[in-house]
């Protein structure tokens, strides 16, 4: 975990509301793992005051990327950054996905902007592991094409792209892909979606990791601002920033 300046390499609009920012930061790029995040200061002033947390989206050499939509002033400022601008960041933060383990089929499930950590994750599995990607969103505006990512199964709430409906139903309708496979689910998206998939995974006894989110001030365990109910130690909360953001569904109540 280091505090470092990073140089903006590129900011690209992937759709009318989703942006991809590439940042050059050799040290962080060399150590960050899929599912970990960075806390980025949108500018050096005191408004917006706090850093903004973003999952690492992808890593290429000495640069990495983050994906975001415009949510408020912080992300609006970030979307307007130009090549050569300098941003201060802290990272890598938190625990990422466990890419090693007893599985030969990795199923990545994304809800909307929850696609963000998967380009890097997809590159990190052993070659022997086969992959599927299930991708759900409100509408086609929130489905982005990311170069190099495998072709996803798509569901949208309004049916504007792929199947009409939610991503869990899409997964259930394609359960034949699980056949004879040792499956592990990797999930990132809005909390209601994480909750539904966690319930499904527990009921089906499938290994499942979810990337959670919560408002936080620091990102490294000091502010205690991001509690999540722990199944292992129910007398205390786990912290999304430090103990997560990726948890096994057996560890936390989502």
């Amino acid at each position: 975990m280091i505090i470092s300046d990073a140089i903006v390499k590129d900011v690209q609009a992937l759709s009318s509301s989703i942006f991809l920012m590439q940042l050059t930061a050799p040290e962080i790029s060399s150590i960050i793992k899929p599912g970990q995040f960075l806390n980025i200061k949108a500018d050096s002033l005191s408004f917006p005051l706090l850093r903004r947390p973003f999952s690492v989206c992808d890593v290429n050499g000495d640069s990495f990327s983050v994906m975001f939509d415009i949510h408020g002033l912080g992300t609006k400022l970030l979307s307007e950054k130009k090549q050569g601008d300098v941003l201060n960041l802290i990272g890598p933060l938190g625990n990422g996905f466990s890419t090693q383990g007893d599985f030969d089929l990795a199923i990545m499930i994304a809800g909307g902007l929850g696609i963000a950590p998967f380009p890097f994750l997809a590159k990190s599995f052993d070659k022997s592991v086969s992959q599927f990607l299930f991708y759900g969103a409100r509408n086609n505006e929130y489905i982005v094409e990311y170069p190099g990512l495998i072709k996803p199964f798509i569901a949208t709430d309004d049916g504007s792209l792929g199947e009409k409906g939610n991503v869990l139903d899409l997964l259930k309708n394609n359960k034949e892909i699980f056949n004879d496979k040792r499956v592990k689910l990797f999930v990132c998206g809005p909390t209601p979606m994480l909750r539904a998939i966690a319930e499904f995974a527990l009921a089906e006894d499938l290994d499942c990791e979810v990337s959670t989110e919560c408002a936080m001030a620091c990102g490294f365990g000091i502010c205690q601002g991001c509690p999540i109910e722990s199944k292992i130690h129910p007398e205390t909360y786990a912290l999304v920033c430090k103990d997560g953001p990726v948890f096994n569904v057996k560890e936390v109540v989502i």
Binding site: F47, A215, A217, I222, Q224, G225, P227, E235, T236
Partner: protein, 304 residues
Amino acid sequence: MQPDLRVSVGPIKLRNPILLASGTVGYGPEIAEFTDLSKIGGIVTKSLSLNPRKGNPPQRIVETSSGMLNAIGLANVGVEEFIEKKIPYLAQFDTTVICNIAASSFEEYYECVSMLSGEEVIDAFEINVSCPNVKDGGLVFGNDSKAVGKITAGVRKVTNKPIIIKLSPNTASVSEFASIAKNEGADAVSAINTLVGSAIDIHSRKPKIYNVTGGLSGPAIKPVAVAKVLEIFRKVEIPIIGIGGIMNGNDIAEFMIAGASAIQMGTVNFINPDASLKAVEELKQYCITHSIERLSELTGSVIL
């Protein structure tokens, strides 16, 4: 010229006036990764209660204009685990350790301080009589001058270590509370704790934090804090530790000029956990620019 940054807060001697505020440094190790604690004045540990507290459910934090609201709810490990697991770790740091206590009853304050008073690592106690985020204590006491007097007197009886009373800004007259703390044996006061605030989501019409209200901190509250420090300084003869939105060396100078003997940096640790180290250098530079040999001369030097 190498300016002398040492200051005293009553009987507490500090390497420099920079303390890290309770609730923004954990119990020490969490911030030590970013900051060399031997270069700053000291740290104030996360509020302790007698028994562990789980704290409030999410959402606990929301950002506001140049500030943030928090309602953590005094999540802490409790006194026993603090003694067993945190104190041995704190012992390795060459820095002043102030232990913050937040209780829900008079007796709990006395018991906590009494249990911890023998620990060598602890240089002083800061008594939190003004946490706005727990329903059964804190602010209730912080708003009641008699209660603050009683807590101060009771804690004074069970320890010989310096006592600092952390004052609430959510009162009509902060100097009245400072005066009572002084009369009941406090060595210093720290001012201010967070201001009670709230933020509501206009789409869902729900409060943005679970606790409905939270404590406002950050640069947004600095002018309020400076005014409270000035008020105490002008009305009560007691050492003051200034707190509220301090981001850098210039802010520290401002609080000291207003009357603070030392200061605490809080919210800034969430954003730039090394800000206190930079502030040491900024303070040195300020002294050099203004030909100040001893930084402590600055305290209360405001020209009115």
